[in-house]
């Protein structure tokens, strides 16, 4: 018994570490230690469980060979893949790890269902099924999100009557779950619920466009948290409960914050207006008429060299082109010549909030040079050159002016208010929202076509010659 109390204390300590760790993760100075602290809490909880846990019958944990074998395999795979992944592929990696957690929760439920005694309460059965359903949705959804971000799956599919279909599927899952708990608890039915939940996860994420993927990943992240919390109920395990619910609530808040940044509601993201709204936007953008002005690196170099102030607007294209180092080089050269350079970070630039910050930090851009949207928007009017690198929707003036546009109402960076806007872009292709950008046709806008890294390198070379 005393051993069990020790374990309770360890779980308590683990929970405190999680909370403090999460708190520290929300400040730039303490973040890294916070992550260590949370990891330490996790290690404590895991070791405590292995060596001190006993079930209701007082039996200790066995099968050490299997457990340590599995942990060894998981550690090596997890460590190596996390170390090898490129910074640009970080979002999909997080999604993949999230899926693993969801699958873990689902598997636990599958096994525990087989262990149920005949006298198990219906609520216990419901707890197990809830873990299964939520874990499975999180798993299959995360895998689809991974495939989309990794560009294994490029198109956005939308079945006819998609929304009705998913609602029917969800109702079927709930109905069968209740029947399993209160009626006939057959294993075949359990596997049906399992399969339907996996299908739901796929259908849930498939129609959602790449621009909304961060929101989806964050949402699925909190799903997995909730699935873990159900495990906590099942085993009367406090650390699983606190850890799971912490992530469940923090993840939900994070999801809402991201939606706010795009000025869209969560239901709007999930049930999607982009698919339908896209057609309308296609028509709305036929205003184009005008032509774009193409420029050359040497012209842009002259512009920047004699500017007082340059603001860089980075987007996902910067990450794809791996241009974070050359852009920092450009910034250093300009700063040396007395040009003030800042980076304007839109809350949803890239494919995850903060994606650009992580990427630019990698190339040693100073933290205080990265300015958030609300702070920098007033400065565009007094800026000589705005350099848009691989960003599109976040500088689309249609969000301010065109109510027909699917992104209407999304807060944007007012890049168009600067004296000159230079846009580095591979082609005239639309951004992730799939809509045209009228900024490119503005008289103060110059296009610098080509790979961002190559273009900026040429720009740097031109600037060096000018010295």
């Amino acid at each position: 018994m005393i051993q069990q109390y020790w374990l309770y204390l360890i779980y308590l300590l683990g929970s405190v570490f999680f909370i403090v760790g999460l708190k520290m993760l929300s400040g730039p100075k303490t973040a890294r230690n916070g992550n260590f602290l949370a990891a330490a809490g996790m290690t404590l909880a895991i070791l405590g469980t292995i060596f001190m846990h006993t079930n209701e019958d007082g039996e200790p944990i066995g099968n050490f060979g299997w457990i340590f074998g599995a942990i060894a395999i998981g550690t090596v795979l997890g460590w190596v893949s996390a170390k090898k992944v490129k910074m640009t592929a970080m979002p999909q990696m997080v999604s993949l790890f999230n899926g693993m957690g969801g699958a873990c929760a689902a598997l636990i439920s599958l096994v525990e269902f087989g262990h149920l005694h005949d006298d198990a309460s219906s609520i216990t059965v419901l707890t197990i099924i809830a873990g299964l359903v939520i874990g499975s949705i999180s798993f299959s959804g995360s895998i689809i999100a991974y495939a989309k971000l990794q560009e294994i799956m490029k198109k956005t599919f939308k079945l006819p009557a998609q929304n009705i279909l998913t609602i029917i599927l969800l109702l079927a899952i709930m109905g069968l779950s209740v029947y399993l708990a209160f009626g006939d608890s057959s294993t075949a039915l359990l596997y049906t619920v399992f399969a339907l939940s996996l299908a739901y996860g796929v259908l849930f994420v498939l129609p959602i466009g790449g621009a909304d993927m961060p929101v989806v990943i964050s949402l699925l992240n909190s799903f997995t948290g909730v699935a873990a919390a159900f495990g906590g109920f099942l085993y009367d395990n406090q650390v699983m409960l606190t850890g799971g619910i912490l992530v469940g609530s923090a993840g939900t808040l994070l999801t809402v914050l991201m939606c706010n940044a795009m000025n869209r509601s969560l239901t709007n993201v999930i049930f999607g207006s982009f698919g339908g709204g896209g057609a309308a936007a296609g028509e709305a953008s036929s205003f184009a008429g005008g032509s774009v002005k193409s420029s050359t690196p040497s012209d842009v170099a002259i512009l920047m060299n004699y500017a007082q102030k340059v603001i860089v607007v980075p987007g996902y294209g910067l990450a794809v082109a791996q241009a974070q180092h050359v852009i920092h080089e450009l910034e250093s050269i300009l700063e040396k010549r007395g040009v003030e350079v800042k980076y304007a970070i839109h809350p949803v630039a890239g494919r995850m909030p903060g994606h650009m910050n992580v990427l630019l930090a990698e190339s040693n851009v100073a933290y205080d040079k990265l300015v958030e949207m609300e702070e920098i928007n007033d400065q565009f009017a007094t800026t000589d050159v705005v350099f848009v690198v691989g960003a599109n929707d976040v500088v689309n003036p249609a969000a301010r002016s065109n109510p027909a546009s699917p992104i209407y109402g999304m807060p944007i960076l007012d890049a168009d208010k600067a004296k000159t806007v230079v846009v580095s872009k591979r082609s005239m292709a639309a951004g992730y929202a799939g809509i045209d950008n009228e900024l490119f046709y503005y008289p103060n806008c110059l296009m610098l076509f080509g790979d961002a890294k190559a273009s900026i390198s040429k720009l740097v070379a031109e600037l060096k010659e000018m010295d």
Partner: protein, 102 residues
Amino acid sequence: MDAFITFLGQHIEMIYILILSIFVGIEVISKVPSALHTPLMSGANAIHGVVIIGAIIVMGHAEAGNWPALILGFLAVILGTLNVVGGFVVTDRMLEMFKKKK
């Protein structure tokens, strides 16, 4: 209905933890700068890997001959470890970059 109330009554301490944790979770991240959203999401992602404890319990109490339980439990522990280790290591890599230049 009775079953439900009984369940709540028997787990009342867990319910308290649940409710309080919801508030703590919201409170703790409410002031996070958007620059840290990605690492925070990734760190939270690692923390829900705590589900591995359930996997260890399943694995640790599976009887020797019960192959489905052994295999599913084994898989669950691997997946849970992936979530935990991968999650923390990826988060650390992101944060390492924030620290370097200061």
